[in-house]
């Protein structure tokens, strides 16, 4: 690999990492409340659909006005709204109807991917790529003459935004009253309830906010990394599920998740920058999963209580249950 190629690879790695950061930060926020939302891949797709729609609505309405603020604002808002809807759906099923988390989550993934594929299929291919190009043209900070600039300073707005979101989530979860209460809901909902915390409300909100963040990941994937090229199967496999395993990999800490996302991003991108046969590419696609398994083994060998999943993860809570 040449030096130029290597720099390009690192720059792409960071861009890919931002998608992982969005997806897994969203899921961490959700899981901290005790909700195991396996619908994240589906929710990311709903976010992607929202992003494409939002961008198209703006471009159509304004006659291709490339106002930088609106170009960013419309897809972000739409992506978050669509994804939040998925989170709301999940919470409604698991909190209000007390359904099983796994079943609800997996169903939501199928639902989200199917729904988005259908509607994205209705939109003309060139309007999707137009949306992607619009995003590309406007969000790039172009300070990159040297290698440092090309890797770190030439990323899109969404990439920096992802890191800011993850750091904010990390601070809120570990340092604030809100975070303390949220973690209590995930660790021991009965204790949280006895302390006067409205567990249902926390779970609803954490799931909806988490889904909205994850939805940004889906949007960044479609409009930023893939530049408007849509391929559902690949995206679910190499991003959706990996966001879930990233949560385990980063031991439920958004701060670790930033670094871990870079590793996953590198693992995901590496195959495009090496000359590989398709069989070798398949093996490279395995890399993130192997890493996750390794982390699982390591954390369970040391079995430290601070690196484990929230104790109440995946358990529906109902006060009068014994």
């Amino acid at each position: 690999m040449t030096w130029t190629l290597f720099v390009a690879f690192l720059a792409k790695t960071i861009k890919a990492a931002s998608i992982y950061i969005f997806g897994s930060t969203g899921e961490i926020v959700t899981e901290k409340s005790g909700h195991l939302n396996m619908g994240i891949p589906g929710i990311m797709f709903m976010g992607a659909l929202g992003g494409i729609l939002g961008e198209n609505i703006w471009l159509t309405a304004s006659g291709n006005n490339l106002n930088p603020f609106m170009i960013l604002f419309m897809p972000i808002i739409f992506a978050m709204l669509f994804a939040a809807l998925g989170g709301l759906l999940f919470s409604f099923f698991t909190v209000t109807l007390r359904c099983n988390h796994n079943v609800t989550g997996l169903t939501l993934t199928t639902f989200g991917v199917g729904l988005s594929s259908y509607f994205i299929g209705l939109i003309k291919n060139d309007s999707i790529s137009k949306a992607g190009l619009a995003m590309q043209s406007m969000v790039k900070f172009d300070w990159g003459d040297n290698w440092f600039g090309s890797i770190f300073l030439s990323q899109s707005f969404l990439t920096y935004f992802a890191i800011v979101v993850a750091i904010a989530a990390s601070l809120i979860i570990s340092r604030t009253k809100l975070g303390l209460n949220l973690r209590a809901c995930g660790e021991n909902p009965a204790a949280a309830d006895a302390a006067g915390i409205n567990v249902d409300r926390y779970r609803y909100l954490a799931t909806i906010i988490g889904a909205a963040i994850a939805g940004l990941g889906g949007m960044a994937l479609e409009l930023d990394l893939l530049k408007g090229f849509y391929n559902a199967k690949d995206a679910v496999d190499s991003f959706g599920w990996l966001c879930l395993s990233l949560v385990i990999f980063s031991m439920w800490k958004p701060s670790i998740c930033i670094g871990a996302s870079f590793i996953f991003g590198a693992a995901q991108q590496l195959k495009y920058y090496l000359e590989l046969s398709s069989a070798q590419q398949q093996i490279f696609s395995l890399l993130p999963y192997v890493l996750t398994i390794l982390v699982l083994i390591i954390t369970s060998v040391f079995n430290h209580k601070n690196t484990q999943a929230p104790a109440g993860l995946g358990v529906t809570y109902f006060r009068e249950d014994r």
Partner: protein
């Protein structure tokens, strides 16, 4: 003045279960109350109504003379009522301080700031009067303290916690994680959590069930300190000696109804029992003289080592006899659990062996425990005789004929079968008739599955017995009905999930199931833990029945009085060693108590 007044409180679950029925009484301020009643008498439910975990169907609650509506634990805190539940409501991965701060709202912090200002304000004024400047170090510190009290701040909260601990005589490290705490520390933390929120009325649900006698004493001292500070304390309990020791007044509930109220100093245990049960109760435990005593189980020099390398059981030896109850006394954690698990084959031991004398003398051999090949081998070694009492050797007989002979009961044991349990699997040991009814700290942890109904829990033991592919539910169903009937299990029906029943009823089901298979050796650990008097005596009766039908009973108990009254011999464990085997008819309780701590002295 009354701190709390209940008026006609009724609470039902579903249509059938009435937890509280038209209960009315009041709690005076600044006193320690005991809320006494049997299992399922509605003590905990009533208190859960008070702290807003349940909502009453009808009736009114008054706090300090004002009618209040309490819909959640948060509301209860608003009226300065706090409850310490039997199962602690703590987050394991949080520190003590984080647990205390959990769920506090802005108005709570405002209140804390106000409280702190009430304390610090006069101090500051005093300093200023003495001519200190506004920028004086001490004045600044006091001002900061008020500010810190009013916001989310781990450090200042930790300081406040330490202050509360000093005031009432607790010991707690504010930065210790809950998973590193002992049970009694967790309980202390729960109390601190409640006091931090300014609780004036503290309810404790069976606080001593999980404590050692020393820890209980400490707790009672704390409660007395709280009373001295003007707080009202309500203890839910069914331990009469504790009621007599700690409380000023006793309120008795019976089957969800108010049964009466007495001053502790004007009453005695007998009167309270009668009030609680509603009829005269005979508190004597009968003990029949053992009959047909035979050596059943030889425990020879066995030792058990824990994973962390500590010795749990050290060279223990004794003999368990049929037709008698061997009580096991000892401070908790002296190796009782390990001993029983070793016998049941659930735990590896080293050193010696455990030999079981299966009472087979003059009984025909069956194919249930022995294969044809084994019978042939044993017959060669001279284990069997025929119907006429002549020695029988079938080692060279064809298998078909041997099988025929077994079916016709023509192969008979000369003597008891001697079996080394060392290499047997737990299931084989169970099939030999050695049954363990273990009631660990967590009642559902061993033996029963909470999310299955009573019938299915019966089937946990009999699922292997079905014919062919399917199993029959008829027999387990019958058994479930019998147990519910005979042991007076309070349950809507036999298809109720076990986890939904109260602790006492769960224990009855566990003990009942194990006894139903007519064991030869029956081991019960803490079978009456958490049970009320009536149920406890029912269990004692069951143990006696087992003894009378010739079972060797091993009974691990907590209450020394009961052990002394029920057992034929008492094995005393001390730090994993057998400190002695005594005859309770001849020694005093103090002698046994001395033996229980003997190992400790030797080590000093």
């Amino acid at each position: 003045m009354d701190a709390i007044r209940f008026e006609n409180i009724t609470k039902t679950f579903g249509k059938k279960v009435v937890a509280s029925n038209n209960v009315s009484f009041s709690i005076e301020k600044g006193k320690i109350y005991s809320l006494l009643g049997e299992n399922g008498s509605g003590k905990t439910s009533l208190m859960n109504v008070l702290v807003g975990i349940y909502k009453q169907d009808s009736g009114k609650i008054y706090v300090n003379g004002e009618e209040v509506e309490i819909n959640s634990p948060k509301d209860a805190y608003k009226y300065r009522i706090g409850m310490i539940h039997q199962h602690f409501k703590l987050v394991n991965v949080f520190t003590a301080t984080e647990n205390v701060l959990l769920g506090l709202t802005r108005s709570d912090y405002k209140q804390f700031a106000k409280d702190q200002e009430d304390i610090n304000g006069p101090l500051i004024q005093n300093l200023l009067d003495q001519g200190a400047s506004k920028n004086d170090k001490e004045v600044k510190r006091l001002r900061k303290e008020i500010k810190d009290a009013g916001r989310f701040n781990i450090k200042s909260a930790a300081r406040r916690i330490t202050a509360i601990c000093d005031k009432y005589g607790f010991q707690i490290d504010p930065y210790q994680k809950v998973y590193d705490m002992s049970v009694s520390q967790k309980q202390t933390l729960e109390i601190v959590k409640s006091l931090y929120r300014g609780t004036d009325i503290l309810i404790l649900d069976e606080p001593t069930a999980v404590l050692t006698p020393q820890e209980t004493k400490q707790l009672f001292n704390v409660l007395r300190n709280m009373r001295a500070n003007g707080k009202t304390v309500i203890i839910i309990t069914h331990k009469l000696n504790e009621v007599m020791e700690i409380s000023d007044k006793v309120v008795v509930l019976r089957k969800g109804e108010y049964a009466g109220e007495v001053e502790t100093k004007n009453t005695n245990e007998k009167e309270l029992t009668n009030l609680m049960v509603g009829r005269k109760v005979d508190l004597q435990i009968k003990r029949s003289t053992p009959k047909n005593v035979e050596n059943r189980l030889f425990i020879n020099n066995i030792s058990v080592t824990n994973i962390d390398g500590t010795v749990a059981l050290d060279n223990a030896s004794f003999v368990l006899r049929s037709g008698e109850i061997l009580g096991v006394a000892g401070i908790s954690g002296s190796g009782q659990k390990e001993l029983l698990e070793a016998i049941a084959g659930l735990r590896r031991y080293h050193g010696g062996d455990i030999i079981f004398h299966n009472p087979k003398k003059e009984k025909p051999v069956t194919l249930f425990h022995h294969s044809i090949a084994k019978i042939k081998r044993m017959s060669k070694e001279g284990f069997f005789h025929d119907k006429n009492g002549n020695k029988l050797d079938v080692s060279n007989t064809p298998n078909k004929i041997v099988e025929e002979m077994v079916k016709n009961e023509e192969i008979i044991f000369y003597d008891d079968e001697i079996i080394d349990l060392k290499d047997k699997k737990p299931i084989e040991i169970r099939n030999l008739g050695i049954k363990l009814s273990f009631v660990p700290e967590d009642r559902l942890g061993m033996g029963l599955v909470g999310s299955m109904d009573i019938v299915d829990n019966m089937m946990l033991r009999s699922y292997r017995k079905g014919k062919g592919l399917f199993f029959s539910r008829e027999k387990p169903q019958q058994l479930a009905e019998e147990i519910v009937d005979e042991l007076e299990v309070v349950t809507p029906n036999i298809h109720t999930k076990v986890g939904k029943l109260s602790g006492g009823n769960i224990q009855k089901i566990l003990v009942g199931r194990e006894i139903s298979s007519s064991p030869k050796v029956f081991m019960a650990a803490y079978p009456v833990r958490g049970l009320d008097i009536n149920s406890s005596y029912l269990i004692y009766d069951l143990l006696n029945q087992q003894k009378e039908r010739g079972t060797a009973v091993l009974f691990v108990g907590e209450d020394l009085d009961v052990l002394m009254a029920l057992s034929d011999r008492i094995l005393v464990l001390s730090q994993g060693k057998v400190a002695g085997i005594v005859d309770p008819r001849q020694v005093s309780k103090e002698d046994v108590g001395l033996l229980m701590t003997k190992g400790g002295h030797n080590n000093d």
